[in-house]
Symmetry: C2
Subunit: 348 residues, 2 copies
């Protein structure tokens, strides 16, 4: 009865950051590999595409023209989900029908004028300019009195709903603190109140001792597969120092984030030798003018691929209605990723 272990037996793991569980079925990884690990014929994109609304000099949907930008370019989303001028208000009809006005600003960030690049194929110095933009935008948007949270994210690949392959990310900033950071804030605050140290600081310390889920490190950041990972090759970049938000980054830290962002995404591309799709994004302290010593900067990567460039994990039925489920363990995923070359497959 007592030979239970996480390598062989179905179990659930607790996500200490969100308070939710994930179901792990390691025995299912032993069944015959049904999907093929195929090399997909990748389209080669031109450096400039005259029909792309993100390329330098081209016209966008709203009729505006992009400047001849040379590194990064930020503009307000032409189809913003949140607007600055939304009138304030609350609609409450009893406790079961509650709605609130939501103000915000949505932006798009072109990472490079080069239509054919992606983060893993860019130079670290070029990626550092993207991090500069994130820092500026966090500071500027966060300074607005109606912005209390700045969500920076990237959808990469058509399987992640990204319709334009030009390298870009987004920022949606809002008055409310969104669901996911709100959950993380609650867990981090409780931990901080009990220990006077950040949850992720202590978590990172343990992971560095255990080593089995670490992917890649540099002087300021560590990338790892979290113990409670849901997506097959999910990962997290955590700062060694308990930085609360991008506004506190030194120049060295900005460069180090660019470095680990590249190294992690090169690993991803090398896994199935394909431009690896994911949604990624930063969680950091709200811009609500509270102190937030509990917040510890980190970046999540949620990649959907499971077995090959063409077989993804579906988060459907049981996942939507009950609890997320995975087959291979976080440890096995980390081992596979760690074993890959540090050189991008296209450069070999």
């Amino acid at each position: 009865m007592s030979n239970f272990n996480l390598t062989d037996h179905p179990h659930r793991r607790y996500n200490a950051l969100t308070g939710e569980w994930v179901l792990v079925s390691p025995h299912r990884a032993k069944r015959p590999w049904q999907g093929q690990v195929e090399k997909i014929q990748e389209e080669t994109r031109p450096q400039y595409d005259p029909t792309c609304y993100l390329c330098a000099g081209n016209e966008r949907a709203g009729g505006e023209k992009n400047p001849d930008y040379e590194s990064t370019y930020v503009f307000r989303n032409d189809f913003s989900a949140l607007l600055e001028g939304t009138p304030e208000g609350i609609v409450e009809e009893g406790e079961l029908f509650r709605a609130e006005s939501e103000r915000g600003v949505c932006k798009v960030i072109c990472f490079s004028p080069r239509h054919d690049l992606t983060i893993p194929e860019m130079e670290v110095e070029e990626i550092a300019k993207v991090v500069d933009v994130w820092q500026n935008e966090y500071n500027e948007l966060g300074a607005k009195d109606f912005i209390n949270y700045v969500q920076i994210f990237e959808n990469k690949g058509s399987v992640m709903g990204c319709s334009n392959p030009h390298p870009h990310g987004q920022i949606w900033s809002s008055t409310s603190i969104p669901n996911e950071p709100a959950k993380e804030q609650m867990a981090q605050l409780q931990y901080y109140n009990n220990h006077r140290r950040t949850l992720l600081g202590d978590y990172l310390k343990s992971e560095l001792e255990k080593k089995e889920r670490i992917l890649v490190e540099n002087e300021h950041f560590v990338a790892l597969v979290p113990y409670w990972a849901v997506w097959p090759f999910e990962s997290m970049i955590i700062s060694r120092r308990a930085i609360q938000h991008l506004g506190q980054f030194t120049s060295e830290e900005k460069l180090a984030l660019a470095d680990i962002y590249k190294r992690l995404t090169v690993m991803y591309d090398n896994l199935f030798e394909v431009s690896f799709p994911y949604s990624a994004g930063i969680h950091q302290s709200p811009t609500d003018e509270e102190p937030h010593p509990e917040w510890h900067f980190h970046m999540h990567f949620y990649p959907p691929l499971l077995r090959s460039a063409t077989v993804k994990k579906f988060m459907v039925g049981y996942e939507m209605l009950a609890t997320p489920q995975r087959d291979i363990t976080a440890e096995t995923s980390a081992e596979r990723l760690r074993s890959l070359s540090a050189v991008h497959y296209k450069m070999r």
Copy 2:
């Protein structure tokens, strides 16, 4: 400043069942409809497919042979994510690394021997036999001492990770109460303790007065688009009576559930004149031998399609990292669905 309204302005709505929010951007629905409402060429399937592992008489992956079943057929999932014989145990290394053994039973339910049918194309009496199976399984699995929750669900369509079009659903039952029912239980219990009535009973009463989100009704059930819907055409079937679980269903109620299940899915198929994909599933009281007067039986439908048979809503970047977002309001979706013919498009 006070002309805020839910039809025109970005807002967030509270999900009273889970305690989470959804971001609604109704102004985005006014932008030009970019995707086409296309009629997809549907494959016509044979009534019997010799290569289908769910068809009567055929062999399954494990080598077992299906019987010549005539209505429904239930068997243990050949690749169960949960196993009955898992040894018990807990692995806890400090508060940040917590895992527990999870025992359970996973089953597959063939809805019909006819390979070419789907729920909206089956007769109500045939669907009632599926509901019979659900009731039996809920009672039998729930009676096991190590099963505290019975999750019944259906993944329909390849876009929902369903690789076999033969009409079927699944049951994953487990020792733990999964994340989603656990959240709903907390909200329902708090409401019940305050009011001595079920949350969904009161919610349904208000919705029946307001009428704007109601889709279809019969004597025992109502289908509606919930106020806090996340997916473009998300819906819920709620029992009029505060039934806690399938075990309490009368024969009349079983037939009525079959009836509304069919009527709702006919609506769905008629929206884009395509076999409408979704994940659906039942939430009901746990089988942990507690009384649970707070629980009110309901069934969720999470369909991904947005604009046409080929354009789906992607729940990616902002949704994964922050808060789910939708464009059209729940009221607009309900209006569109309600306006459709009650006759299946293939029968016209």
